[in-house]
Amino acid sequence: MIVNNLKLLVGGVQLRDGVVTMTDVLGRIMTRAGLYVLAMERGYASTIYGAHQFDPMRITETPPLSWGDREVDVLIALDYDSNPDAAPQPNRDTVLRHGRELRDGGVLIYDSSTGEIDAGELERRGIKVFPVPARTVARDELKRDVVKNIVMVGALFRVLDFDPAGTYFRTLIEERFLRKGQQTVDINIRAAQRGRELVESILQAKGWTDVGYRLEPRPLREPLLLISGNEALSIGAIKAGCRFYAGYPITPASAILEFMEEHLPKYGGRALQGQNERESIRAAIGAALAGVRSMVGTSGPGLSLKSEEFGVSGMTETPVVIVDTQRAGPSTGMPTKSEQGDLYLSVFGGHSEVPRIVLAPATQEECYTLMMEAHELADKYQCPVFFLTDLNLSEGRKAVPESFFLSQKARIDRSTLVTEEDLRRDGAYRRFAVTPSGISPRLLPGTPGAVFKASGSEHDERGFVSTDPLVRKAQVDKRLRKLQTYLKEDGRPPQVFGKVEGRPVLIGWGSTRPVILEAQQRLQARGIEAAVVHFTHLWPFPTEAAKPLLEQANTVICIEQNFTGQFAEVVQAHCLVPVRRILKYNGVPLYPSEIAEGVEAILRQGVSTVRITDGPVPVKVSEGD
């Protein structure tokens, strides 16, 4: 019997079966029951209705290292009549797609409203199969089609022997639906009850006393929050004093815009849905110009459109935080799949040379803390600060203790702004004064005593356009000198996990840290002691910290979700050590076992690059994603 440690996957038809509602209900109940939830490798399609959708969720008693491998313990199939052509298991997209991922001895619960599947093969693998006619029950008995996923929640809870009194479930349903009336609450409760009964009768008929998995509530020391990267970074921005947000709807960044539109006004700020990507970033620059900490969010295609303004922000020294929730592929690529492909655009994008800082959080917690740092850095260095997340991290949800968020302090240092008193004391004001740090005093319009002139054209210290070679050199030196100051005062070395000397070193950046750390453990179990060196502060590259470290390594292997190894190139160029690569770019998240196998291939067979591919899908499944 495995208690409080399983991975489940809910699959169904997008928009119809309520996959997300179900996992949201499950996730919330589990975190309230004191269990850790990690739901990060979500699968959905860029269609509104009809494609296959799935949502895996790891539930554990102690915080999990990562989302783990592809295998699942419990599979819940909400779809009932999709893919009618696929013999020999008609109507079961979720079963067809994810049956292979189901561990031997696992559990399958599926909607049998349109007939039962041929479960022989699954049963031979020791899988316990529960046909639950959820939709029939919902539609015919309860007269409410939409509660079919709640029937499944009840079924699942009985299978896992969780919440027998229904207390957790009742509380959540009342919170959610009481405003829609007592009747709605009652129907949901009855739906869950019917699910329990259906499973109960199967258990009795089969003579099963347990199914091998169980969930038990844990004493709750403090509330756990189930929060996504997008949500965590939005709250981090508000905490950091961001009071203007602009965005143009784009997957997977739209959630930030929606969150900010709803909540920023409560803090005196304003959010703008731009009429296009360019209006968004320009308005954000305008707001920053007026003195407000300001941010935009977008994904790759939007970042391309915004790239013109990288230079405006850098040249006029107007701070702006640019969130890029990376998704797969150039052009419009794969809007609902994850990748780490925009490093080059963030680091090198825009014409000529723009001073900039590039950060990438690894976890939902870091989305919060690093975002506070991003605003602080933008304010201090008066340049664009890029914040690179990706679809997995942005939309993936994780249980984090509330106390973690409450214990983080925001630093709101606005000392680079000149005040009326400063102007009275110092006399002549020069917006782009050449200073040893490269940081010039910033004036907000409306401050009596001086005015600023800022220009995207090359300018002198007062901001007047100039092409004088001496002025040009002094200003370029000044602007780019900020990055040296940053490295000295605020740069962060990579985080090191394990001993580097003489060992293979796994390098990562951004959201892949958890899987790389889990791969490190798997390797250790196989007798390979590897260190992990992980970067959150990507640019300007911390060469002084990284080079001596990596020179001690036996083999340096960079793990990324892209084709070329963008960060590997950066590391190689700055540290002058050969960097081997493990790369995945098929839109599917990285799994620890794949990384471990890749590392072994590199160490044993001496290959320089491993490109990971998932095995072919042997069954015919429905089109549309």
Partner: protein, 291 residues
């Protein structure tokens, strides 16, 4: 602010913190001089202080205007001034925000911003320094090129000019006017009203390019412009359209306020800026959403 406001705002104030007159890079006789003079007159009349002023400009000859008069100035991308101005005005309604763009800035590369700023209606005055050409890149056609020319000159490569006033009306602007930099006094009167308008005010200013536009010269404009009749009711949208049609039919260009109809708008407060305003941000209610 009160202390500075009390000082007499004289025309001379606008010469401070600006490029000296002899270093102005516009060609001798450029229409933009008239716009600059009119702007100074209007700002002086309204007793606006340079400190509370934010002038955002586009690219090209027109974009340089922010360097030639006092006040805070920002010069970003081609086509961008209205969007920067929108952002600044949204977070600080106390600022007097003026956007100055050329016809390319406003109607070619920046048309996406222009159309939607008309709808959004922020309290910004936008002056188009309309000369029909791209001057700083040496005379290529702009969207308003060919005004008054015979139709036979137009082809796929050089389509006929379009009407800035009609675009503004269609897009929902609440203040639409036209002025001529050859008559700065009249232009200044229009700017005064545009600056007092509670909403987005668009002024299309004919600002002849003496170097590259040999057709739409000062003389040509003087022959074709005509003040709007005193009995025109600018609050009547149908009257505005009728007026434009009437002037077009007669081959004349209207000067004055074509349409003015402010919306009843909610006033916004300045967004928090200073550390003490931001320090007590309590995010606990936001975190509770995820419990």
């Amino acid at each position: 602010m009160a202390e500075t406001k009390a000082q007499k705002i004289s025309a001379k104030v606008w010469e401070e913190n600006a490029v000296p007159r002899h270093r102005i890079q516009w060609c001798p006789g450029c229409g933009d001089f008239g716009v600059l003079a009119a702007l100074k007159m209007a700002l002086t009349k309204l007793e606006i202080t340079p400190y509370e002023l934010l002038i955002v400009t586009g690219i090209g000859c027109s974009g340089q205007i922010r360097n030639y008069l006092n006040g805070n100035g920002f010069h970003g991308t081609h086509g961008g001034p209205l969007a920067y101005a929108l952002g600044a005005k949204m977070v600080n309604p106390e600022l007097k925000v003026i956007s100055m763009g050329g016809d390319g800035d406003t109607f070619a590369i920046g048309v996406e911003n222009f159309v939607h700023v008309c709808r959004r209606d922020p309290e910004i005055m936008h002056v188009v320094m309309d000369n029909g050409v791209y001057g700083l890149t040496k005379g290529q056609h702009s969207p308003t090129h060919g005004r008054g020319m015979g139709l036979e000159v137009f082809s796929e490569e050089a389509p006929p000019p379009f009407s800035p006033l009609r675009l503004a009306l269609t897009a929902g602007a609440t203040f639409v006017a036209q002025s001529f930099s050859g008559d700065p006094k009249h232009a200044a009167e229009i700017y005064v009203q545009a600056l007092q308008h509670k909403g987005f005010a668009m002024v299309n200013d004919f600002s002849p390019c003496v170097t590259y536009n040999k057709f739409n010269t000062y003389d040509w404009y003087r022959e074709h412009v005509e003040e709007i009749p005193a009995d025109h009711d600018p609050s009547d949208l149908n009257a505005a359209w009728d007026l434009l049609n009437d002037f077009d039919r007669r081959g004349r260009l209207p000067l004055g306020i074509i349409y003015r109809n402010p919306r009843n708008k909610k006033a916004f407060r300045r967004a928090p800026i200073w550390p003490q305003e931001l320090a007590d941000a309590d995010v606990r209610p936001l975190l509770r959403l995820f419990a």
